[in-house]
Subunit: 404 residues, 2 copies
């Protein structure tokens, strides 16, 4: 009789966003007259920029003609996209990254979940707390996280690096040495980040202790402060210790288009084994390339028109972020993030738990956010609002919250 992967059985029952969906559905059913504003899930609302739409139409037409039809894409991505990435995301920032270190994928969620596969199950992971749940969950599935403590909501074999207002949301080097360090900067859910100098310390630390940094830069386009790195490869020594994960979901609104990429430098080696070669083998065996049409969409994000349109789109969402932040501060909330990222992280009032505040906000303001505890134990007592709604909804939501 076949057996299953028992690690799946260790996962706590319900996924954060499905619990939220259930609560919202129940509320809507009971209150059909109430209009709900959703600032919960980090999904974009603005349409795809015209330059990208045009590029996709052109690519669709190419697929319909024998002379320009494209079959299987190169496993690791088309050169036109990989070269555009190198020029625009790396060379322009002085980062030494070449096209054969870029692996184009169907999105950063897949990559950030799959990247752990090329590492030993004996490795110990460290994560910021709170953080995007996929890092831990994918490691649970692989059997790397030990036993779950249902009371503390922590795994015995995971190093948690608390990021709270007490330490200014800057993760500290853990007491126990980790093998794999997940850093999501700017951070989801807190919307905070660290300076380039602080990131350099992490790179130095990883090189010193022989750890690999899995650097999720999904929110890079939202960085507004000049002392914050847009890529970990701006730091000296990152080529020997860091893998960078990038997404088009948030900078170009591609959540439903699906495109991302991962950078694995050729200098990143475990003994004499190249992690670049391992990830290439993983891609070649388990993935068959991102769609041609979508890769052309990705290329269009780097055209002069594309860049200008996306700059506007990012500004639109960051105006929302500023609106939320200022509005909540006016209403007396303690608020973080929203400067280098499209997330606002607020301290729940009157020591409410994250879920208590979720229910309070849903019932009294008909606004949906995300309970901080869903992102890790140190998220308890915090709450996330996203800037990805429409401006009109964002303003309306803040007005409602102010009136509470």
């Amino acid at each position: 009789m076949y057996k299953i992967n028992d690690n799946y059985q260790k996962l706590p029952g319900s996924y954060l966003f499905s619990t939220i969906a259930k609560k919202v559905n129940a509320f809507t059913a009971a209150n059909p007259d109430k209009s709900i504003i959703r600032l919960g899930i980090g999904d974009v609302t603005q349409p795809i920029a015209p330059a990208i739409i045009e590029a996709m139409h052109k690519a669709v037409d190419e697929m319909g003609q024998a002379e320009t039809f494209r079959g299987y894409a190169p496993d690791l991505g088309y050169d036109f996209l990989r070269n555009a990435i190198v020029e625009n995301d790396y060379k322009s920032r002085g980062c030494d990254i070449s096209a054969d270190e870029i692996f184009v994928s169907d999105g950063a969620k897949s990559d950030s979940a799959n990247i752990q596969e090329i590492f030993s199950v004996d490795n110990k992971i460290a994560v910021c707390d709170p953080v995007y749940p996929v890092y831990v969950d994918s490691n649970v599935m692989a059997g790397r996280t030990g036993v779950y403590d249902t009371e503390k909501e922590t795994w015995s074999n995971v190093i948690y690096m608390p990021c709270t207002k007490e330490n200014g949301f800057v993760p500290e080097f853990p007491k126990e040495t980790p093998d794999m360090i997940y850093l999501c900067l700017p951070n989801n859910p807190t919307g905070t980040t660290i300076t380039k100098a602080q990131l350099q310390e992490w790179v130095d630390y990883a090189n010193k202790v022989g750890a690999v940094i899995l650097y999720d830069a999904a929110y890079e386009a939202y960085i507004s402060e000049s002392d914050v790195a847009h890529s970990i490869y701006e730091c000296e020594g990152a080529r020997t210790c860091a893998i960078e994960l990038k997404s088009y979901s948030k900078n170009a609104g591609f959540t439903g288009v699906r495109l991302g990429y991962t950078v694995v430098p050729k200098d990143l080696k475990c003994g004499d084994v190249s992690l670049n070669a391992m990830w290439a083998r993983r891609h070649g065996t388990k993935f068959n390339g991102a769609p041609y049409i979508v890769q052309r969409a990705g290329e269009a994000t780097y055209s002069p028109e594309g860049k200008a349109q996306l700059k506007e789109q990012v500004a639109y969402y960051m105006k929302n972020a500023a609106t939320i932040k200022a509005g909540l501060q006016d209403a007396g909330y303690t608020v973080f993030g929203g400067v280098n990222a499209p997330y606002i992280w607020l301290k729940t009032p009157e020591n409410m738990t994250s879920w208590e505040f979720f229910d309070y906000l849903l019932e009294n303001a008909n606004v949906v956010g995300t309970p901080g505890s869903g992102f890790g134990p140190s998220g308890e007592g915090y709450f996330r609002l996203t800037a990805f709604g429409t401006y009109e909804n964002t303003v309306a939501a803040i007005e409602r919250i102010k009136k509470l």
Copy 2:
């Protein structure tokens, strides 16, 4: 110091198709005047059908307008596509499959590589020999295959089920009981298949011994004989033992569009654990849905126009298959497949090895095919030609081979 997944180091050096590419490139460099015809890799050449192009243009336009823009797709696929799959691929064939048993993905290669994740590493796999290399390679990466014998080119912990002309390419129940049985029917690379009655025996066997069948039906659209099942769920009892993997790459030319789906019936349980729930959790954690545009393309394959156009496309390739088969038989070759699949499997002449015949054909006819030994040890002495070229190239290639 972090450690890597050592299983990757066990993989034999070079992937079949990259070795072929290197040999072809070397030949072309040395013989720039020769025109090469490629009937090697199983990639389609006909453009995407007009009904699908139209659907994609419409979906692209929707993504460019705020009112119709779509963000994250449902993890498991849009209802419009899952319902179309149920109606057209299952209900129409009398198969009892519901929409919540369909998991839409970015293609069958990803699914066929990822599906092993939900099973225990202690399970023993059985594969047809020869077969699509991804099944074995993905299990090597997971540590399920034991030690590689470089001479025999087999893994110590894999059950090989030879499919050769001696047994009519029908896999026999193995002596040792497997836990996970990979069946690719119609088969890649042999282009042969088994009858529905023979498939029923496999379903009965799996239910009896407690094995799960991973049924890859990527070439289903090419089935022409009436006693061959289009889905394993046409067999009684398959809902308790089989997962089915489906691709749009070959029936709709989606190799560069990327779409597939996997069926995990709710009756498929290991003890009281639902494999449907496990795969849903896998999808939800490690995947973020197929692109909206691509899912609309998938839906269009089921429209009356789409169906008619794809029927023509399949007929085009099958005319190639018939041309190859008849031509090779005229030239005195022993030939298999090509009736229910777009692959022709030929016995190499004069006891040449597969690679000897590859070189012979490349040098003397300037035709590229695929050495059978690349698909497994029992593929030695065989050779694969695909029907996915243009008709003109296919005719020209056969003329060249006939003249040898």
